[in-house]
Assembly symmetry: C2
Homo-oligomer: 387 residues x 2
């Protein structure tokens, strides 16, 4: 199959390199920026050349960002070309539009590389969902935040030191907001829900709380309770209603999640007959992510449809889940927190200049509303669901 | 697709139950023993009825054992029917014969359920090996032994108590030899090597050491060294030579392997671009294993080939791997062990009435030869590779 790669950065180069060893795939065009220059004879700066080239059967979009990625993907599909992309942001924002056009044109949209990098998680969701409705998709889906949390848990580093180390290793960007505020996981959770449950919620409809405010005391307190803090993206189907969230969780110290080191990912699916499956590996990087792109390309070349589950879509409903949370905030806001939580306060204790609450079981929607109100009073508050 | 199930025990019933909800698959015949009786109208006691029924496109063999499973599988293929089986023993013994006949007839042989039960590990190997040669397949592939080792590590139970608990829970059979002596993992390792490297070694050619002799002191000593004992089946491709083994390993206490609880499985693959992937889930049980069978059936119904990797086969060569081992044996045999190990003794220490050695890096073939000689002197010796 002849393919064109859009964007010759980290992922695009990985795809190109892996394809050199595969007779089934031939990279015939690469779209790059004029500022970079023509490093290979097949590089072009004009997307129209690729669109008009009828030999190109599949476009691999590795540019990132919303625009012009969205327009380029739609144009490729309109021209009858399959699309494979590693771009979780554009997929989460326009998933329904892309899949509708692909279906109308009888084309494939490959998105494996957009979630958990090299870990074949979306393919596993697609396969598992053929057999039975899934009940849960969840995971440590961001290597940057897992690296930061691992450093904090392992060496007692504070957040700023761990973030700096992540940046020096190239795991975190100069502006790390998309990672540490959970936006990247939010986009991936949209796609995991789409593949597992057939519903792609709007990213903004998934409540999202990152790890920007986690302190070394929070990490130490978790350890003392036999827990480890991890950032989890999750979707649960509960009596036909879909709960979804991105937030820190306190996972038992002997869980598989707690053992995920460095910048690795671990993604979970659950179903009635299959039970719990977990998938571990590199969630980012040139070759692992390139490998995931190539898996989609080989499936498309072999004529596999790559379809997400059809059928009735669940409704997003944040009251579907009841759980317990830990909430740490400034002592000055503690009484207001207690009042807002009301009967749901199960434990309240001093922790230096902060106060820590544990809630009783309560509806997620209710806790998130309280969290939001209190964030306006204490922007440094930390909250984590207790698993 | 119309299918027939051979054997209506734990796995066969799971397959039947899951198929009831899938329009793509129809169970039209079940072969059972006359002694069981005709529990369903589609039950027959005569395999010829299934062979002669042209409507049956695929035979699902869930009888277990070598005979008549082997003859039934070959007869189904001869009659032009696809075969899916969960029977690792018959697959490991006759893999080349089955795959040659299936290829000659243009038929599929589905074996997903034979390794790691519900965990989609063989499919992952097949997909990963399309992109690049794999360098390692390995795993905790037997739930019974992992349950026993988990009980011993968690509660300090001795082996007999943990085995009895496993038997009471139905995880271990009345005669547990196939599990605790590693034979089950040996068969699964054959199949993992077949799918990952294209070579199915003869089971007997894979050195195999089980957990029958592990003592509570061995477990405690491992813990003191920051390690956990797990039974690992493994294949490694080292400069074109295939190393394979089944043996206890001392894995770091913070590794994912150490965190695998109860009767769960965790299987690993490694490749140059994909890095390390790990797959976790239920390695046995009616519905998880049935689910894996059904995944193969759905792939076959969709026209997917389920082919293992083609190309040059590696050679099995047990000198390919160098590693370090721990060896615990009776004090009376210690001097002989020291003499056999020679320069490879890195550490020797008293441990009650036993002596414990740690070796320097040495060729696996060499260590296994020493282990075999010493086993004849001390049948209760314990040996584990240090990871």
């Amino acid at each position: 199959m002849k393919i064109a790669i859009l964007g010759f950065g980290v992922v695009g180069r990985g795809v190109y390199e892996i394809c050199q060893n595969l007779s089934e795939l031939e990279v015939v065009r690469i779209l790059d920026l004029p500022s970079v220059g023509q490093v290979l004879p097949i590089v072009t700066f004009d997307y129209n050349e690729i669109l008009e080239d009828e030999a190109v059967e599949c476009v691999v979009e590795c540019m990132g960002g919303l625009h012009p990625a969205k327009e380029f993907i739609l144009a490729a599909l309109e021209k009858g070309k399959h699309v494979v992309t590693s771009n979780k942001a554009v997929l989460a924002a326009y998933y329904d539009e892309f899949t509708a056009l692909a279906a109308k044109k009888g084309l494939c949209l490959g998105i494996e590389a957009a979630v958990a990098g090299g870990v074949p998680y979306l393919a596993a969701l697609r396969k598992a969902a053929r057999v039975e409705p899934l009940s849960r998709v969840a995971g440590i889906l961001n290597g940057t935040t897992n690296y930061i949390l691992s450093r904090m848990a392992g060496e007692g580093s504070d957040f700023a030191v761990a973030l700096k180390a992540a940046q020096e290793l190239g795991y975190a960007e100069a502006d790390p907001s998309a990672d540490i505020d959970g936006i990247d996981v939010q986009n991936k959770t949209v796609l995991a829900c789409a593949m597992g449950f057939g519903l792609a919620p709007a990213p903004a409809d998934i409540p999202c709380f990152g790890i920007r405010t986690v302190s070394d005391q929070d990490v130490a307190r978790a350890r003392a309770k036999g827990r480890v803090i991890k950032l989890l993206g999750e979707g649960q189907l509960i009596e036909g209603r879909l709960f979804a969230s991105v937030e820190p969780v306190l996972t038992p110290a002997d869980s598989l999640e707690a053992a995920v080191p460095m910048n690795f990912n671990l993604a979970t699916l659950e179903g009635a007959s299959i039970g719990t499956l977990k998938f571990y590996g590199q969630g980012a990087g040139s070759l692992p992510t390139g490998n995931a792109v190539v898996q989609d390309l080989l499936d498309i070349a072999a004529g596999l449809p790559l379809c997400p589950p059809a059928g009735a879509k669940p409704t997003l409903d944040l009251t579907a889940l009841s759980a317990r949370w830990e909430l740490r905030l400034a002592a000055a806001v503690a009484d207001e927190a207690a009042a807002l939580l009301g009967d749901a306060v199960a434990l309240r204790e001093e922790a230096g200049e902060a106060v820590v609450f544990e809630t009783a079981e309560m509806a997620a929607a209710e806790f998130y509303a309280v969290r939001k109100q209190l964030q306006e009073k204490d922007a440094a508050l930390f909250a984590a669901r207790i698993l």
